[in-house]
Structures are given as C-alpha cells and as structure tokens.
C-alpha cells in the first residue's frame, strides 16, 4: 500500500474545516474517518499488483557507453491498471528513465521499453520491477514488486580498435600481398615457382632449378598458424588506477584493451589465440578465441585483492600450450616479479617465447620531473626509485630472453601490437 499526495492535500484542506467549522475532537475524528474510508475504497478498487505477469526481451550485451534497449511486457489479467512502474537496475546499468506511467487495460498487455547505457564493464542484472497501482480516487495505491530476471553484459569498450587499420596494413605488407617498397618476404617457406623477370636472383633455388627445365625460385610467406597465449593478470596490481586520455582506468582495463587489439590482429594474421585470465586461480579461459567470444569472456572480469600466483599461471600455460607459442603476460612490472616469476622462467623459456606487457603510470613520470620545493624533490626521488626498479627488472628479464613492453596506458595497446608484428617479421614466433 502507498498513499499519494492527494491524501496529504485532503488532510491540509481539513485544517480549515476543523479550524473554522468543526473545532472539536469530533471534527478531527470525522475528517480522519472520511479519509480512511476514501483510502479503503481506493485500495479496494485499485487493480491488483500480485497477479501481474512480466516477461522481458531485448539486448543481452552492449558495448560499454553505448545504448541498448530492453523491453518489459506487462500482462494484466485483472481489472484496468493505472499507475507507475519502476524497472530497477544497478546505477551503473545507466537506465535513462526507470520510472514510467502505465495504463494496462483489463486482460491486456503493454510493452515498455527501457534504454540502458552502461557506464561500467561487467554483468548488469535487473533488480525488481515495482508497480504502484492507483485507485480511482487517486488517494491510495497498491504496491508490489516482482522479480523479472535479465542480465545485460556490458562489454569492454575496445577503444584501441582505431589502431587496427594501420596495423593490418603493416601485416599485409609483411605478407607480400600488397605492393610496397619493402620486399614482401616472410620467413616461412611457401612454395616453388618459375622465375619471372624482376624476381630477386637471391631467391633462386639452384637445387630445384637443376632438377627442372626452368629456373625456379622459392617463395616465402610470414609464419602463420602460430599460437599466441595471452595471460591477463587480474590480481592486486591490476586494480591500480592509472590516468590516461580516457580518465582514470584500472590497469586491468588498459590491459584488456591491449589484449583485444593483439588478438584481433593475431586472428587476422591467422594465428591462434588462447586467452587466460589468472589471479590465484583461473578466472577465465578461452581456447581458440575469436574476438566476440573473447570480449564476452572479458566483460565480467574484475581485479581481486590477492597476490598473483606466478607458479600456478606458468603451470596452466605449460599444460595448455602443447606446441611452441608466444606467451604474452599482461601484468605490472613490480618487484614481486623477481621472486614470483623469475625462478620459473627457465621452465617457460625453453618451450615458449615470453613477452611481458606492463602499464606504466604517467603520474610517476610526472612526479619524477617535479622540481622546485622540497616536497616535489622528495617525490621525484621516490618516483625515480620506482622507475629505476622497473628498468632493473626490464634488464633482468631481458637477460632471461623475455621481451618487455612497458608503456603509458594510451600507448600500450599499440606498442604491444607493434612488438607482435616485429616478432612475426623476425620469425620468432
């Protein structure tokens, strides 16, 4: 049950009735009785809320920040329903207007559309549908809630997809499918064919030419069908918020963006992408990932306040990747790597090539450049200390044959993709 503003208004008018006409206890009682009677009549005549039935349809996933529509169908088996309906969602689901006036005829149905614009990545579940059914006098209303489950998955925004066209262009140059000034030569033997004027004489295969009547050249192509294993660290260091062009985002979101760009590029280059999200246990695992599947798998991942279990992650990678692959570990260059990951590197490096990508913090670089007063200089010293630590770790990892990409959040996706292409060009996959 719920009262409306009219009940209060009637009681306010009653102030003058009591004050001027019936200044007594009886007057108050009479007015109160009248009001109670009106409320009772209204409640009796209002359409029931309990027997309403609901169903939903519409979007189940949407890219974060973009609009989608979820429909709610109300079926009313009882008498005519007039009132207000609220479809409650968590605030980050970004429902544009969650309250609507409803008027459902007896035995009829209405379809209500709610526009959602999720502001954060992840699964956004609908809470309850609450209906307030007004009586004919509009003084009181029946109210009740129904659970009508629905989930909209807000997908990672993938801002770095704008980098994809130039990267694909580079990939095509590498492939030799596109005329360019650079010799389009891969590293993997493709086939033999007859020499035509203009071919590089260095690519003549003399042994094959000797067996045939024509001069034969070898053709090459970039390696393909290689395996790329992306390991996303979702442990405590990924919770750190780093300021970039898109505002403060956790390292995890930037790492996801980079992983998405890399997997989009790798699948275009016909490499096979395996995805693994790991903190102290496997959080998500997508073998043979395609971009849509990957995006859906990433959406609900959040950082956890636990230590990254490097031993477990390496064991998982070794178990899954049967053949030699490029293992891309998206984590943060912190001193904990030294006693966590470093002792395990020999086991990993014998079978795979490891590439570590880390989001560096522009705030630390800004602090390192601070001068002027004592506070700024102490901050600069602290920041330099952190940067020196990262340089030392990078050098240490390089000595173990690990590639390191340490870039600002805005540059990391592009830098990682560039490194992948240069590894591919060098035939190191």
């Amino acid at each position: 049950m719920a009262l409306t503003g009219r009940a209060g208004l009637l009681a306010l008018i009653g102030v003058f009735v009591v004050g001027l006409l019936l200044p007594s206890w009886q007057g108050i009682l009479v007015l109160f009785g009248l009001l109670v009677l009106c409320v009772a009549v209204d409640l009796l005549l209002a359409a029931g809320v309990r027997q309403l039935t609901f169903s939903r349809a519409g979007a189940t996933s949407v890219r974060t920040g973009e609009p989608c529509v979820v429909q709610l169908t109300v079926h009313n088996p009882g008498r005519r329903l007039r009132g207000v309906l609220r479809d409650a969602w968590a605030p980050s689901a970004g429902v544009v207007a969650d309250r609507v006036a409803v008027d459902v005829p007896a035995g009829g149905s209405r379809v209500l559309s709610f526009e959602l614009r999720p502001i954060r990545r992840g699964d956004r579940a609908a809470d309850r549908v609450t209906v307030r059914s007004h009586g004919p006098l509009g003084i009181a209303a029946r109210q009740g809630s129904h659970v009508v489950p629905w989930t909209v998955r807000a997908l990672p925004p993938f801002h770095s997809r704008r980098h994809l066209p130039p990267l694909l262009e580079r990939l095509r140059e590498l492939d030799g499918r596109r005329a360019s000034l650079i010799r389009g030569a891969g590293t993997e033997f493709d086939s033999l064919r007859a020499y035509v004027i203009g071919d590089d004489v260095r690519s003549i295969d003399w042994r094959a030419s000797a067996r045939s009547a024509d001069v034969v050249v070898r053709t090459w192509r970039p390696e393909r069908d290689r395996q790329v294993t992306i390991v996303l660290d979702t442990a405590r260091t990924s919770a750190g918020r780093v300021d970039g062009a898109l505002g403060g985002l956790p390292r995890l979101d930037t790492a996801m963006d980079a992983a998405l760009l890399l997997s989009a590029l790798a699948s275009q280059a016909r490499d096979q992408v395996d995805f693994l999200a790991f903190s102290h246990q496997v959080r998500a695992s997508v073998p043979r990932a395609t971009l849509p599947v990957l995006v859906r798998a990433m959406a609900p991942l959040e950082a956890e306040l636990v230590e990254f279990d490097a031993r477990g992650a390496v064991a998982e990678v070794l178990r899954r990747a049967g053949r030699r692959s490029l293992v891309v570990l998206l984590t943060s260059l912190e001193p904990s790597i030294e006693h966590g990951l470093l002792p395990l590197l020999p086991a990993l490096a014998t079978r795979h090539h490891l590439l570590i990508a880390s989001v560096s913090d522009p705030a630390v670089h800004a602090m390192a450049a601070g001068r002027g007063d004592l506070e700024a200089v102490y901050s600069a010293a602290a920041a330099e200390r952190t940067l020196a630590e990262r340089r030392r770790l990078t050098a240490l990892l390089a000595r173990h044959g690990v590639d390191v990409v340490d870039a600002l959040p805005d540059d990391l996706p592009r830098a990682l993709a560039d490194r992948y292409l240069s590894l591919k060009a060098a035939g190191k996959l």
Binding site: G8, G14, V18, A88, D127, Q143, A239, R241, D361, Y378
Partner: protein
C-alpha cells in the same frame, strides 16, 4: 569559450535589487524612530520636560520630601502611594491586588467611566479637595464614596479615581489649584510609586495558548495529521534501493607518494640525493654511448667543457646533503643533463 564565473558587473546587477530594498527598510526605520521620538518624551512621564510630561509635579513632590519611584512593573507598593497612569493596560485582578497592598492608590481615567465630560475649571464641592480649590478636571465621571469636582474625582476607601490627568502635566500644573491638588493626591505618603504600565504587562498575565482561539488548536492538530500523511506519501519508496557492486580500484601511484612522504618525514636527503644522481647517470649513459654502470664523467666533461672533478663530484659525491642542499642538487643535476642534451 564563455567564462561561467560571475564578474563584477554581473554581481552588481544581481545584488542591486536586494541592496535597494535593504537601504529603503533602513531609511524607513530611521525616519519612524525619529518621528516617534525618544522613550522619555511620553505623556505623564516624571522625567519629561515636554508640555504633556510631568517633571514639574515630580519635582514638587521631591521638594516636599516624597520619594518618587518610576516603574513599569510595580511590585513593591506596600506602604506607598501608587499612581497608575494607564490602569486600562493592567489586568483588573492585579490592579485590585496592588491597590489593596498600597497605602493609597490614584488611578487615572480607568475604563469604564460613567459619562464623558469636557475638561475645564471645576470647583471642588467636597471636603477632600477644599484646600486645593478650583482645578482643571474633566474626562470621565465616576461613582464613589466621596465625589468631588462634579464626580470627575472620586474616592472609595484608599482608592482615588481621577478622570483627567491635566493637573499632573507640565502645561497645566501652574493653573488654578492644580499643583495643590496633585500634591495632596500623590504626596499622601513618604513614597510614591509612579506606575507607567507597558504593553508587555498585559501579556504576562495570560499564557500564549490561552489567547489562541480553540478552533486553531484543533486546526493545528489536523495540520499534524496532514504532515504525517505527507511524510508517509514521501517516505514510501517505489521499490527497494539497488546497491552497486563496486570493483576494487586504488590509485596506482599511491605507494610512490607514500614513499615520498616517508623520505620527507625522515629527512632522508642523502638517500634521495643518491637516487636522483643514479637516475641522472642512467639517463645520460645511453645518450653518451657509455655502457650502463660505467662512470660517464669524463665523457660529459669532454662534451660540455666542465672540469671532470666537478662533474664527478656532482654525480658521485658521497657527502651527506641536507634538505636545502637536496633542492639545489636536483636543480644542478637538471642543468647538467640539459647541457649534455644540447651539446
């Protein structure tokens, strides 16, 4: 781009209306206060020298050995003469109580009178005022045990009622036998309580609720009911509050900032200096083509024409530094780095 913060002109435009209203109110208050005059200028006030004041009478009484006490809230009246200039402002019960306790009471024109008569010179016609003779009296007539001046002055027991206050004013006190009459009325005892009731006196007698009509009491009750109903209307929520599952997010640079504060609190200037020196060496080594970890001083000296010893002292000095020295060191390291980059 448009600035949204207000400038002086806009503030003035917005504020001149209220300012004008404030000035008008202030001006009106000053004018009204000036026109109404000061509190000491009241009629029948023993301190007032105005024509309608009573300083002359009070002065005469003092000369005749009567102590005059001016009050606006009489209480200690026992054994004294009580003179009430405006008895209509006092609750009748309280007035009766006061006059019972006072040795003599003079009431000036209490309501209701019997008849209204013009003030003028009248003859006493009673033993009470024979010594005074003719006096300026009038106003209202009253009924009493002794009646003088055509019933404009009557006495019942110790209470004297007088219909017109002319005989006490500065203007008329020297007419006829006014002064003698005033002295005989007010100078009956050693002490005279000159009671000028204020308007506040009346409300002290009755409580606030007693003054409110009954209808509004019940109206207020009904208003309370209305307030409760409106509160119920506003309090009822359309469905429960939906909590937001918030992820863990920490500012990544917080540990670095914490370390900076620790450095500062412990005045670790020497440690900070060695970190800054190391950072400069690390940045310069690749620029100069020196292997990391090697001493770049000689190469720097060769390029910048600085003496090797001073460069080495800047980059490697082990002397402890204080806080001020640290700021200076940071600046000179920057200068050196810029010089190398330009060279």
């Amino acid at each position: 781009m448009t600035a949204v913060s207000p400038d002086a002109g806009r503030i003035w435009t917005a504020a001149r209306g209220p300012l004008l209203i404030g000035v008008i109110i202030l001006f009106a208050a000053v004018v009204i206060t000036l026109l109404r005059g000061s509190g000491e200028g009241g009629a029948l006030d023993p301190r007032s020298f105005r024509p309608e004041g009573s300083h002359a009478v009070a002065d005469l009484l003092e000369q005749n050995g009567v102590r005059v006490e001016l009050t606006d809230n009489a209480s200690a009246v026992d054994g004294a003469t009580l003179f009430v200039t405006q008895p209509n402002l006092i609750d009748p019960e309280r007035l009766a109580d006061l006059s019972r306790r006072a040795a003599a009471t003079v009431l000036l024109a209490p309501a209701p009178g019997l008849d209204r008569v013009e003030p003028g010179t009248r003859q006493p016609g009673c033993p009470l005022a024979d010594r005074a003779g003719a006096a300026t009296l009038g106003g209202f007539t009253y009924e009493g045990d002794q009646s003088c001046y055509d019933s404009t002055l009557v006495r019942t027991g110790t209470v004297t009622t007088i219909g017109y206050g002319g005989i006490f004013t500065n203007r008329d006190v020297d007419e006829e036998g006014n002064a003698a009459l005033a002295l005989s009325l007010l100078g009956q005892h050693e002490r005279l309580v000159w009671y000028v009731p204020s308007a506040a006196d009346r409300s002290q007698q009755k409580s606030l609720t007693g003054l409110i009509p009954d209808g509004w009491k019940y109206g207020a009750l009904q208003l309370g009911i209305a307030a409760v109903l409106i509160a119920l209307w506003r309090a009822r929520r359309l469905g429960r509050v939906v909590p937001e599952p918030l992820p863990v997010v920490v500012r990544a640079a917080e540990t670095v900032e914490g370390r900076a504060r620790l450095y500062r609190r412990s005045h670790a200037a020497s440690h900070a200096a060695s970190v800054l020196r190391q950072a400069t060496r690390d940045r310069l080594a690749p620029l100069l083509g020196v292997p990391p970890g090697d001493d770049p001083s000689e190469e720097i000296a060769r390029r910048t024409s600085r003496p090797v010893t001073s460069v080495r002292a800047l980059l490697y000095d082990k002397e402890p530094v204080d806080d001020r020295g640290l700021v200076a060191l940071a600046a000179s390291l920057d200068a050196l780095e810029n010089e190398v980059r330009k060279a």
